[in-house]
Amino acid sequence: MTKEMETKLRRGMEECLSGVENRPSLESRVLERIQGQRRGPVRLSVAMIMVLVLCLFTVAALAVGAVAGWFRVEQRQVGAMQSCVSDGDTLYLLTSGGLYTWQPEAEKPALVLPDAALRAAGLTPEAQLCLMGDNLALLHPETRTLWQVDGQTLQSLAEYGGTALDEDNLQIGSVVCAGETLLIRAVPCDATEDEALLYRWHLPTGRMEQLPLRNVVELCACDDAHALVLQRDLSAQKEYLIRIDVTTGSIEETLHTAPVQSMEGIMVHPRTGQIIALVAGAPSLWNGSGWEAMQGYGLSVHTDACAIVGDALAAINYNDLQVIPFVPENSLTTLRVCGIMPLNNEDDAFQQENPGVAVQRAKNPALTAAEIRQAIADGDTTDLFHVRLTWDVAALFRDGTLAALPPSSVLEEDAGALLPAFQEGLGVDGTLFAVPSHVGVYVWESGQELPATFTGLLEAQMGWTKIQYAEYLLTAYITASGEEVNFSSPAFAKVLQALRDARLPENPRMSQPVVTTQVMVQLNGQLPFDQQQGESRIYSQTETIQQPPILWETPCPVIPGAAPVVPSQLMVYVLNPNAANPALALRYLESIAAHRQPEQDALLKPMTAEAVLHPGVEAQIEWMIEEQRAFDEAQGRETDEEALASRIDAIKAAPDSWAVEETRLAYYWDEIAPYVRLQLHPLLTGQAKAEGGAYDQMLKAVLAYVNGEGTLEECVQNLVALLP
């Protein structure tokens, strides 16, 4: 990783975690606990809820599995996954729990060699599995030994100590066997995964040699004499699929050269001999000249290793094993979605309601309007794009690049219930182009009464720098102005002048901020500070837990007397006019509209929203009623319904039992929702804010003026000249 990437990575995480600095210290809690005045964090009641939630999830997963043939094993069941290999009928799985086998009809993997047995032989789970003919083998880098697994015993077959591969700075990435030869992918410690080397170990002679192939990212055996290698040359941004002759180590044929893709795993189907790989998470078939996405389900997780077992693809990562069935041509319709991965599993409800459909997602978290435009121009048949709604994306509605959504009473009803600001952003002249999936509404939070004007904010000395004031002034003024931004207005001139004249503290960071900006509105119930963070909970029937006061404030308007503007952002699904399955895409959108998380739905549609309990809490209440009645019946007595109702009321009285809490919802509806606006403005796009963009230049002009350069007239002239 380059220094620049390291910095970007660190800065990214630091920015997202900056809120940690403002958290109250845990010091008193720990000291109280040491002194025996406080118990440790126990999630007693929550655990009860979660058992139920897990049961519900399992039922849901089984339901999906039953219709789709999915199979999933979690780390908690078998240990952390390390390596897998398949002979076509049986999957062999090496985990931190030991060596397992699994066959497609089996309910769970069977333990063949427990971890203790492997360790007794000096092996650790860092080993790599491979198949040598009909035998399972294990290459263990720490002992430089190749082991054969014979039933429940291990036999040492060969050692490579003293050979070319015997280097401490080489990591074994994967191993395959073709005939009597092992091919070993090894990564030097000072290199990246894309710079792996390839070694050839001829077992009868023990000869180990490094092959003149670099940048080996994937490897698989075709037959006793051939193997496939995927080379990725990042500097040339090319990938090469190569067939090599294992007996000589020479390149036999370059099957394919392509631009770099996010390709994982190359496999040869043991029965059909077809070459299969995971391309952007989708199982894809080599058609002789390129990859064709196969019908079926996609993977939404990173994959460490994969194999074909039965008629399915098994893929592992550290956390789980997923088995995804291949489906016969035309037996399953695939809905393709490209863009931001959902933050929650939005596809579950749709998959359960549509067993004959598989949702495949191509991940592109920074999908831009330009990329969508290009994809459509290129005839891409992706059905839906999932993207942040920006001015540029909205422009695709206006210029007809994106398809208007077909008539749908479900979508019309959904859109009709949205806050007007959201409704307006999703379409043009009443025609709907997008369906929202997530929304962020950003307010200020303060425990004090805030000034009502920008000049008041300046006088309040909020700990902001002049740059922060200038950014706020410019962004808020543009957002409030809408399409017609009038920088020549006397009111704007007055606030500019006030900012120039303001005497701000030299070191504003030392002053106490009175307001936190960009606070995302959350409607779930909150506990008071002193009762937060996982203390064990006893739902008291006599004590009511008060939730902390709501400190949300609408941002202060820049121009005196103007209405406040609460900025918001939507993530939306939009329809590709070239969609392969437009009717299915519409059904998916209807499912998204009908199955949003309650908190999201309430933010989007506060006028029709109601308080909603967390699903886990609802399940807990049901479980509690059933258990109590069953217990009482077993004891031969009548259930005390009054006492039971009282316990349920106590649970419902706890603010954090609610996914949408009544008081917060009412506050949002009354105080915040009337001022919510989407920040859809050509001056507020990523491009405009980038170095040299219109907004960036405007900000520089404002800063120059407020720092004492030039006159007000010159500043306003500069701003007007930069208007689009």
């Binding site: 990437m5 997202c16 809120g19 940690v20 956390n319 996982g534």
Partner: protein
């Protein structure tokens, strides 16, 4: 060490490392509430183990090792198994200033990494530890650390190489 002396030592440790421990726990567990539980537990365990701390590693390395193991224990709990599949920043503390779009994408991508890659990335790149220190914290060899970091790099490189997203 007498209890009062240990309390003083613990207070010093908390003032020095509490936020760092909490940040790592936040990124590991993706949930502020769980992370604060883990951080609290970490310092409690540190208090109990203080007499056994021989200074073979730095205090920070020692604390991080306890924190990572505590996070692993929490991950094994039913609560985490329910929540680990949806990755979002919603359950992290509200940032003091709004993060840039690419920072959000990077953080989400780190949170989506398999756990063993994520812990290596957090310690090496976020906590700026040396490979040897990361190896000490995770109880693995430095070569294994390097391997995990390489895998993580392969997963993260698209988003690290990507430009600014929409905002």
């Amino acid at each position: 060490m007498a209890t009062s002396t240990r309390e003083v030592a613990l207070t010093r440790l908390m003032r020095l490392y509490e936020k760092e421990v909490l940040k790592v726990c936040c990124l590991y567990l993706q949930d502020l509430s769980l992370a604060e539980d883990a951080a609290q537990e970490t310092f409690f365990k540190a208090f109990r183990a203080m007499d056994r701390f021989r200074g073979e590693s730095s205090e920070k390395t020692w604390l991080m090792r306890i924190a990572i193991n505590t996070c692993k224990d929490i991950r094994r709990g039913a609560w985490f198994r329910h929540t680990d599949r949806s990755v979002s920043l919603d359950k992290l503390p509200q940032p003091a200033t709004p993060p840039k779009a690419d920072s959000i994408l990077i953080t989400l991508e780190v949170m989506r990494l398999p756990a063993r890659e994520r812990e290596a990335v957090l310690l090496r790149y976020y906590q700026n530890m040396t490979l040897a220190e990361v190896a000490q914290v995770l109880g693995i060899s430095t070569t294994a650390v390097t391997k995990r970091l390489k895998k993580a790099h392969a997963h993260l490189s698209p988003v690290l190489k990507g430009g600014e997203g929409n905002d």
